[in-house]
Symmetry: C2
């Protein structure tokens, strides 16, 4: 569970994945998981992931709700050249901001396609990708030219994973994070029902640390115990207590410790 | 885009994934993608996927919102024996329904653990998994005993993918679906900006079919064109029109057709 100490300090983010192709099961979204990992590394709490269809009113409503609820919203999908790419207009509508082909974005696209004559050059469909709301800041796209944009606290990015990642990497230095949230894990070859009671007591005794327990099966039932905190000392303290308790319950060979990576 | 013909006929579903471990990026959710594929096969439109943390008030609010918005809500995660498993109580609270250890669920757990003496047997933590809201219908768990439940239109299931899938498979015969939504795809080795205009025109000419276009990179830029419809004749018609149009734009060797699977 998210501890109160953590949420009081750290900025909060939400991810809005836009695309019928995810909801139909045709493709699996990979961007939310990548964003989740990057937010943890930056000390930003990812508070919600929402996947919605390519529907104007639904996107407008989700952008408004999430933008009001968190510090940073990230969207993926729906900013390409085809008729089903409606994200830019929906985000503009969410903030009642005019949107049209903007000269700076158009110049980026023209330069990109001028350097790639085999691509067929700029055309009306591709000019859709230069539709940017008034006052929005562009997000560089080092992969395929067409920029994303930031309007208010909403970061509008591509759905293609390579482009999403490149755009996010470019944004990261400008995001105000909290202290990075570190994790300390234990994999134990014991059903979680056997360690639930001691873990509950340990969670209560270490309120600055979030302690989660996730079952798995590998020939026999096991559980991952994961401690998370932005407070490195409190994390080390709680991890030590959990390790000692586990050692009273299991053979050392049935405990695998995963200490913090940094 | 979801066509109006499709949404008027088909029941709608939403997925609520519950778990800090997804939002922290520690593990990638697999259940939403599986549910999305199954819903398409059953002719049920998955209208939203939402991932929320292990937080009582947040789960209660999400359950209420989604339950009111769609025909079927499916949740995954948070029904195990540990202190961070709070889903059952939150779903009960969302419907203001009393919840306690229920005799039928307790009997299932007792029988399960009695048959597995090495598991350590029933204990207080495991009895948490017999907490079922009044009036809820149990969902069988053939993998690890502890049942899920259905309260109103909310189907509460385990987060472990093997168990989630087994529970869903058991539920499927009881779900009222629409006509299955079929898809017909084309992979073209051409940037989507080059086919955007003709696709837009084709989408307008075939309103009973949803036509999406999704870019990818494989040495050079390509795009997946996906047609979807519950109306098999309209789908075949539109696919024929798209194929003919693509053949005027590309060499046949740069078009790969993916016809409906059934």
């Amino acid at each position: 569970m998210t501890t109160e100490a953590e949420s009081a300090r750290a900025p909060r983010a939400a991810m809005l994945v836009i695309g019928d192709e995810i909801l139909s099961g045709r493709i699996q979204d990979l961007n939310a998981h990548h964003l989740a990992q990057r937010m943890s590394a930056l000390g930003i709490v990812l508070a919600e992931i929402r996947v919605v269809p390519d529907d104007h009113a639904t996107i407008v409503a989700a952008v408004r709700t999430l933008s009001a609820a968190v510090d940073y919203v990230f969207t993926s999908g729906g900013i390409g050249p085809t008729h089903d790419d409606i994200t830019a207009d929906a985000v503009a509508a969410a903030f009642e901001t005019p949107i049209d082909v903007r000269a700076d974005a158009r110049a980026i696209l023209e330069a990109y396609y001028a350097g790639r004559p085999a691509s067929g050059g700029i055309n009306a469909a591709r000019l859709r990708m230069a539709r940017i709301p008034e006052g929005a800041r562009l997000i560089e796209n080092p992969v395929s030219g067409a920029p994303g944009f930031v309007l208010a606290n909403v970061h509008v990015m591509a759905g293609v994973p390579e482009i999403f990642r490149a755009m996010l990497a470019g944004l990261e230095p400008g995001l105000a994070g909290g202290p990075p949230i570190r994790s300390h894990g234990f994999e134990v070859m014991m059903p979680e029902g056997e360690i639930a009671a001691p873990l509950g007591a340990l969670a209560e005794a270490h309120p600055a640390v979030s302690i989660g327990c996730y079952p798995f099966y590998r020939d026999r039932p096991g559980a991952r115990v994961v401690l998370r905190s932005a407070d490195a000392a409190a994390l080390a303290d709680a991890a030590e207590a959990v390790r000692r308790r586990l050692e009273t319950l299991l053979d050392a060979s049935d405990i695998r410790e995963v200490p913090p990576s940094d």
